[in-house]
């Protein structure tokens, strides 16, 4: 039986639903298995891995979130730095970090290997929480409270860079997190 091949600008005639070459079939099967592995990794990491963007998600008005942050600052404030309050919450506490043009409030003082619930939201527009140099990046959307359970695993002086464009002062929006033993 003679076969016929043509390029992609030629209209195929007759029945073209024909069996593929075995090399092609094998590649498709292997690709399919690889795709299933790619898929399985995500649910698996929810069960076995330590880094998942699940969180506690809720709606919150910007006014309410500002009020919650202010209450949190009042309760646990230990000092000031660069005009920003420094807050040291107890282990396991709900902590509030407010993003607004162009400031992260407050400065956080945390303990290593201790879990906190970090609430992120914005008072005005979208911002991006980027913990530097750990490289944890979370979207901050006004009207939404994202409560992430975080456990610092190293001590140090970390930055929070805003990585969602938020206007002309975007580049001065740098916050700070201190983690101690």
């Amino acid at each position: 039986m003679s076969e016929e091949f043509h390029s992609a600008i030629v209209a195929p005639r007759g029945i073209w639903w024909r069996p593929a070459h075995k090399q092609e079939k094998r590649w498709i099967i292997i690709s399919f298995i690889w795709c299933m592995i790619l898929f399985a990794m995500m649910p698996l990491w929810h069960v076995r891995g330590g880094q998942n963007p699940t969180g506690i998600r809720a709606k919150v008005s910007p006014e309410d979130f500002v009020a919650r942050t202010n209450r949190f600052i009042e309760e646990f404030k230990v000092g000031e730095e660069s005009g920003l309050p420094v807050v040291q919450p107890p282990p396991g506490a709900d902590i509030y970090l407010l993003a607004r043009m162009w400031q992260w409030t407050p400065v956080l003082k945390l303990k290593k290997d201790t879990q906190y619930t970090l609430h992120l939201s914005s008072a005005d527009i979208n911002h991006g929480f980027s913990l530097f140099p750990i490289n944890v990046n979370i979207q901050v959307v006004p009207g939404y409270d994202y409560g992430l359970r975080v456990t610092p695993n190293s001590t140090g002086d970390f930055r929070i860079i805003c990585n969602e464009f938020c206007g002309i002062g975007h580049h001065i929006m740098v916050g700070k997190v201190l983690v101690e033993e």
Partner: protein, 576 residues
């Protein structure tokens, strides 16, 4: 009756190279859309120069407001205007021209074109007058002038109309029996691109019309809902590019080396997978957003278990294998790689095709699937890894494929010999090298936590300074040099295209017979587009051993990169 058919035939010319009957009205629309695409590309390249020279912190050229303005203009002109105008030309080509048919409703085509031009001009006026410093994504509550949103709506309506004309041209061709059998694969691929375009543009209407009203204070706008629906346009429109680019790959494979379709069933099924699943990919922009839960994120970011990735992996095999088989049928049967060694590497149509496949697959595909994984996205979201990824898909992949096909469009459709032919021959290499160097540098900077869309990363005016790893300085230099090389490659392309269109020498039977410069080898001597006989079966039985080796190298890179990223992720703070 007779006069009618005469007047009809006056609307056509028969291409002396391919033998295709070309509707002159379709041809003119291909020309104007392609020319405007190149103009938008020029605006995009000039803006890109400003961006590269600003983000390269050692130079830091533009002041902050201009940086963000140029960034907005760069995104819109490249990702929307250039690419969609070009895709409109692809649709006019893949419909009436490939099918030997007439263009239905050419006047509507002109109306659509004018709407799109009006929209693009309005958007650019708004952006450059500083009334829309909202970047490409324009996330509310960040607000632009209402005319900015109106411009995008006009453009989208125009594009939607062209999709309608394309669908109509399929019906007309079928009814008037301008071809026998099924539509060619190129047209089939373009059809999937058009369907995805309709899906994307409807998302666009669903978000830009309310946003336009919101910008005039007529209604409210939820920031999270905007992000969800906007990405239904923002990402899906990139899938138009993927489907159009893969169609162009198949087209170029045939034109340059007589590349064949290995199996129509497999390639078409892969295109259908794009239509079915790829729109879900918009979810991977929202993986670290507060609005959606993990089940939604996992299911959608995987495009229903990565079936659209499967589609790309299939094309990643069938396109090179089609080239290999085509070359083997032309007699390059020695060893595993003679077909590749003896390929026409000085034909920019061919080199651009191969570089596009490699850059899109190896760099774009692997990085994209990896950073689009729900948890790995924590390390990548809004860092330079994101633009590092999409500059190798949309630019090194799609734009390069479109450049490569332009070197065939100029002689075949414009019927002009390509100007600056010596420069055209190296242009794909220059552009590919620049984009690769730039994007890889961006990806590595992103791994060090460098944010995207940021005028100044030093924090020099911030309350707390930021000290990056010293490697970032070096990477910035690579990024800057790569960006400049890529811009040079882009300008080389523009110079060739513009000078050819306006001052190029006419292609004549004489110039083809003499093999004059400015004509790619596929035009001088079109490879056979069909193969039959016993030799064909024998060659086919031997398969495509070279491609098999190449795809397994690809898979190995993919596996390593993917799991290295999971390992990196495990070092982070615990988050849940």
């Amino acid at each position: 009756m007779n006069t009618e058919s005469q007047s009809l035939s006056a609307n056509f010319r028969t291409c002396s190279i391919t033998g295709i009957r070309v509707d002159k009205k379709a041809e003119l629309l291909i020309k104007v859309n392609a020319v405007v695409a190149v103009v938008c590309f020029l605006v995009g390249v000039l803006a890109a120069l400003g961006l590269v020279l600003t983000r390269w912190q050692a130079i830091h050229l533009l002041p902050a407001p201009y940086y963000y303005r140029f960034l907005t203009a760069h995104g819109l002109n490249m990702l929307i205007f250039f690419i969609i105008f070009f895709e409109m030309a692809v649709l006019y080509f893949a419909g009436p021209v490939v099918l030997n048919s007439r263009l239905p409703a050419p006047k509507v085509g002109w109306l659509a074109f004018l709407l799109m031009v009006a929209g693009a001009v309005l958007v650019n006026v708004m952006v450059f007058s500083g009334k829309a410093d909202v970047l490409f994504t324009s996330y509310p509550p960040l607000k632009a002038d209402p005319n900015y949103y109106l411009g995008i709506i006009l453009f989208a309506v125009g594009a939607l109309i062209v999709c309608g004309i394309f669908f109509a041209s399929l019906v007309v061709a079928k009814r008037e029996k301008s071809y026998e059998g099924s539509v060619p694969l190129v047209t089939f691929g373009a059809l999937t691109a058009a369907i995805i375009a309709v899906i994307s543009l409807l998302h666009g209407a669903a978000i830009y019309i309310p946003t336009w009203l919101w910008s005039m204070d007529v209604m409210g706008m939820d920031p999270q809902l905007y992000r969800l629906i906007w990405w239904g346009l923002g990402h899906s429109s990139q899938q138009i590019n993927v489907a159009a680019m893969v169609s162009v790959w198949y087209l170029l494979a045939g034109l340059t080396v007589g590349g064949v379709v290995l199996n129509e069933k497999i390639s078409r099924t892969a295109f259908v997978l794009y239509v079915l699943f790829i729109s879900m990919a918009s979810a991977h922009h929202l993986l670290v957003d507060p609005g959606m839960g993990p089940a939604w994120k996992v299911w959608n970011t995987s495009y229903a278990m990565y079936l659209a990735v499967l589609a790309s992996m299939i094309h990643g095999f069938t396109v090179p294998a089609g080239i290999e088989l085509g070359q083997r049928l032309r007699g390059f049967t020695n060893g595993t790689f003679e077909w590749l060694r003896k390929a026409p590497w000085t034909d920019p149509g061919f080199s651009g095709l191969v570089l596009s496949v490699i850059i899109f697959g190896f760099l774009g595909g692997i990085t994209g699937v990896t950073i689009g994984t729900e948890q790995i996205n924590i390390m990548a979201h809004n860092t330079l890894r994101i633009p590092g990824h999409f500059h190798v898909t949309v630019v090194g992949g799609t734009a390069l494929a479109f450049m490569a096909v332009t070197y065939y469009v100029l002689p075949l459709i414009f019927q002009k010999r390509v100007a600056f032919w010596a420069m055209a021959k190296v242009q794909p290499y220059v552009f590919a090298a620049g984009i690769t160097l730039m994007s890889m540098s961006m990806t590595f900077m992103g791994i060090f936590g460098v944010p995207r869309r940021q005028w100044d990363i030093t924090g020099s005016q911030a309350p707390f300074p930021i000290e990056f790893h010293p490697a970032v300085n070096l990477l910035q230099a690579f990024f800057g040099i790569g960006g400049l090389i890529a811009a040079l490659g882009g300008l080389m392309f523009i110079a060739c295209a513009v000078v050819t269109v306006f001052f190029g020498k006419k292609v004549t039977a004489q110039s083809i017979a003499n093999g004059e410069s400015g004509l790619p080898q596929g035009v001088l001597n079109l490879p056979s587009q069909t193969h039959e006989g016993s030799m064909v079966s024998r060659v086919h039985k031997g398969g495509t051993p070279g491609t098999v080796i190449l795809v397994f190298i690809f898979l190995a890179c993919f596996v390593v990169y993917y799991f290295v990223n999971w390992k990196l992720l495990s070092f982070l703070w615990k988050i849940g």
